[in-house]
Amino acid sequence: MEYDVVIGLEIHVQLKTRTKMFTAAPYAYGADPNTLIDPVVLGLPGTLPVLNHAAVEACAKLGLLLACEIAEVCKWDRKNYFYPDSPKNYQLTQNEQPLCLGGQVEIELPGTSRNIQGEHRLVKLNRIHLEEDPGKLTHTAFDTTIDFNRAGVPLAEIVTEPDLHSSEEAVAFLNALIHLIHYAGVSDCDMEKGQLRCDANVSLKPAGSKTLGTRTEMKNLNSISNVRAAIEYEIARQTELLDAGESITQETRRWSAENGTSSSLRSKEEAHDYRYFPDPDLMPVRMDRARVAELQAALPERPYDKQRRYQETLDLPFTLTSVLCPDPKLCTFFEEALELHPAPKVIANYIANDLLRELSASAAHGESALSISDCPLTPAHIAELAKLIENGVITKQIAKEVFTTMYQSGNMPAVIVEKEGLQQSDNSDEIEALCREAIAGNAKAVAQFKEGNAKALNALKGPVMKATKGQANPATLDQILRSLIQSEA
């Protein structure tokens, strides 16, 4: 039987405020255990939460970028459940009146090949609310240890509508979401560090049916590849059950990346009874409309809007925009270089290819590539390099060499060209003399060229370039060789 797949995602994103959601204790990933704690973090008797305004601002900013409506008033609720990582055994969250309502994320489905732009569509969001992160459990063979450093870090929980229909769409959504969060600048979204965590709800229904099937919730998906694998596993599992005439149990399942399988955590019958009620310790937040308008006005251009603009007004190919646009820092770098020298394709090429290659090559073994912010080059370097090529000062060939030197030294390209005497040679006399030598030394190539094999000319150009160390102006060289051979005839 054919089924329609319906997927909804719940994504927890750690907001990178300096301090915690409800107290001034700082947070930093990787700090020694229990060094970022205070009476509120530990839930000591008598302590009270005080809202961190920076977390509200960050979440509102994200909400606006995700096209959410910002609530007039949002409130705080207690979600009651016991767990050793939860210092109060309730979580402060927004159940009844969240900060952000609705919203949508534009996603790109995979194209027919890597170099081909895929179809775009909008995925609907249900809401974004703020809540606090619990501490971190570490399981040993005999017991469990608890580090409360993470407890109280602000989380934005982004809840989609059941509006995704395949693992590809879910992955595309996550990628698009991560790019948007980077643009908002509110989280680094490093899944390995737990900065972004994903739960997936999956259900199947007979193709074309209007009624949703029974869903299962998958927890603990801590990488994009896990999200893909877990959803695919779940679709296959449910398909098999339904095909066999069995029904799906509403349950929470845990994905095991090691085994590539999921297993039931608890069924609906054992589901938590969270006993939500309004938190009496925190006051409601009324969102100042003028401030919301200010945040709205200051929003960055969304990545796919930028991509369309680059493609339409700068005539950049998809192969370049698809590299640049997901990363707001690359785009800023690109646009700053463009201000200095308006050569979009050349500059985009240098950033998307040469620069990124050097960045990943210079990363230490086993670590991820350096970010553009660690780059020894400025937009001015790239702009000047592009200008030297365009003005015919250096050849593209020489430019590669200049790039490597400037990446290593940080010197400006003009300085390198000057110092190392790399200027392109337009000395026709010298080139002509070398061309004559080349023609004299390779009669076979000359004959082939005369017979109409244009590529044979390259065999003659090679020795000339070699002799000039690549500085011969290729156009001049080409023209001289052709005219010499013709005049021979």
Partner: protein
């Protein structure tokens, strides 16, 4: 002159200021008195005489060098075992927190320290402030100094008994449904619950967050005014604390606010269940005010009779969540017999909490649980709105409301232990005030025929503490019941 330990803050601070008394001498008198009567009264869960004398000594040095911190400097003030004092046990009279020492100060404590007060001991209470008799302490039952077989009221029973017995000059209590006013009434002292939000709750171990307030317990209204002056103020660590636009000097205001007033009497508070002697006493007090020129107005609080169910739903719901943090993981009692994380929770809590706390946690968990929230909690919060409105309407015509504090005088120990509902109903005159967030004060208004104190409750407008004190002091100065002390 009464003994030092039976004097007021106002008297003692004048003597300290005049140099006729040192804080160390005062503290020594209080310590000696405490040691003499504590075996009978059992007001203290913990006390550290050496530490108190050191604080008193530091106060004397400040005063000698001309750096006195004001009228509270050097005055021994007892603290209910529910407010966090850095380096001192914080047990809430519970086995759950048997070994817990607070690593931080409550805001109220920081304020008292800044005013030079000598923090004296940890006073007994009903476990986690749940009770009206101080019988629910895991450590001991405190006796009423006026009749040692009777309860001192609760939950701030230790705080009230300590003053009545001369073991402290003043104390700090907390009041969620009458826990300052009712023991004050039953022990013949002044107990004042401020407007919700006037005093920071940071460091007050939460029972019911939307109702809890700390407040002064003293011998006189003037002392309560002095003490409250130090405790109030917007606290950045408590989002529910509220800045008074203009904080009056309560003690100075007492001289300017002399009445007469328009005083409301809620008919609903004189019906069934009130002890005839209490009723007669309070009616006489009302007549006194009338005779002094105040206008007495019959008012109606039509929803007040619903206060008990509303209170016991709202308070237990909040408590069930507030007390979830006592789980044996990070601090407090951990059962030794645990095999897994689940039994760590259930057994530690089962062993650590007493009966009344368990009863309220179960009740509060139930009223919030799936399928019952709307019927109980949400409905109670709506009726709470109606109760608040009743008071708002009443205060459109009156300056303050008079009523009994407790329907009965102190009862015998054990008398109501097995009837929680009867115990809950004894809070009937006090809890509506917490639900409405209003300030109220209980002051001694006389004695029953067998010598038990009776308390008159004065309820004020929100943030109307200055008037509240003035109304209460008028009666106090004409009757001087505070000069009668319990014989021990």
């Amino acid at each position: 002159m009464p003994e030092l330990y039976h004097q007021t803050i106002a008297q003692l601070s004048a003597a300290l200021e005049a140099g006729s008394l040192t804080s160390v001498a005062l503290m020594q008198a209080v310590i000696e008195r405490t040691e003499a009567v504590e075996p009978q009264v059992k007001a203290f869960i913990h006390r550290d005489a050496e530490d108190a004398l050191q604080q008193a000594h530091a106060s004397d040095e400040r005063r000698a060098s001309g750096n006195s911190l004001g009228p509270l400097d050097g005055i021994p003030i007892g603290i209910k075992d529910i407010l966090a004092v850095k380096g001192q046990p914080l047990r809430c009279a519970s086995k759950m927190l048997d070994n817990f020492v607070s690593p931080y100060d409550a805001t109220v404590i920081a304020q008292l320290k800044a005013a030079g007060a000598v923090l004296w001991g940890r006073l007994n209470m009903d476990e986690f402030a749940m009770g009206s008799s101080t019988e629910n302490s895991a450590y001991m039952a405190t006796a009423n100094p006026w009749d040692l077989d009777r309860i001192p009221g609760g939950s701030s029973g230790g705080s009230a008994a300590a003053i009545a017995a001369g073991q402290a000059i003043a104390t700090i209590g907390t009041d969620t449904g009458g826990s300052i006013r009712q023991p004050a009434a039953l022990c013949g002292v002044v107990g004042m619950k401020p407007t919700y939000g006037l005093v920071s709750r940071y460091g007050l171990v939460a029972f019911a967050s939307s109702l809890d307030q700390a407040g002064p317990m003293t011998r006189t209204v003037e002392d309560a005014a002095l003490l409250l002056q130090t405790m109030l103020g917007k606290d950045p660590l408590d989002s529910t604390s509220i800045a008074m636009p203009k904080v009056p000097d309560f003690r100075a205001e007492l001289k300017h606010r002399k009445g007469p007033w328009k005083l409301g009497v809620p008919r609903e508070f004189f019906g069934d269940g009130i002890d005839p002697e209490v009723k007669a006493n309070i009616e006489a007090a009302i007549e006194w005010y009338r005779a002094q020129g105040s206008e007495i107005v019959d008012i109606s609080l039509p929803h007040a009779h619903l206060s008990v169910p509303v209170y016991y739903i709202v308070a237990t719901a909040e408590a069930s969540s507030n007390l979830a943090r006592f789980d044996g993981v990070r601090y407090g009692h951990r059962s030794v017999a645990v095999e897994d994380a689940l039994s760590l929770f259930t057994q530690s809590r089962g062993e650590g909490f007493g009966d009344e706390v368990k009863r309220r946690i179960i009740l509060g968990t139930y009223v919030l649980s799936s399928g019952y929230y709307d019927a109980y909690y949400l409905r109670a919060q709506k009726v709470r709105t109606l109760i608040r409105r009743d008071f708002e309407n009443a205060f459109e015509t009156v300056d303050a409301i008079l009523s009994p504090t407790s329907p009965t005088p102190a009862f015998k120990r054990g008398e109501r232990s097995n009837d929680p509902l009867a115990m809950y109903l004894s809070d009937i005159y006090t809890i509506a005030v917490n639900l409405a967030g209003l300030p109220a004060l209980s002051l001694p208004s006389g004695f029953t025929s067998n010598g038990l104190p009776i308390g008159l409750q004065v309820i004020g407008k929100a943030f109307g503490e200055a008037d509240l004190f003035a109304v209460a002091q008028a009666y106090e100065q004409a009757h001087n019941f505070h000069l009668v002390t319990a014989e021990l």
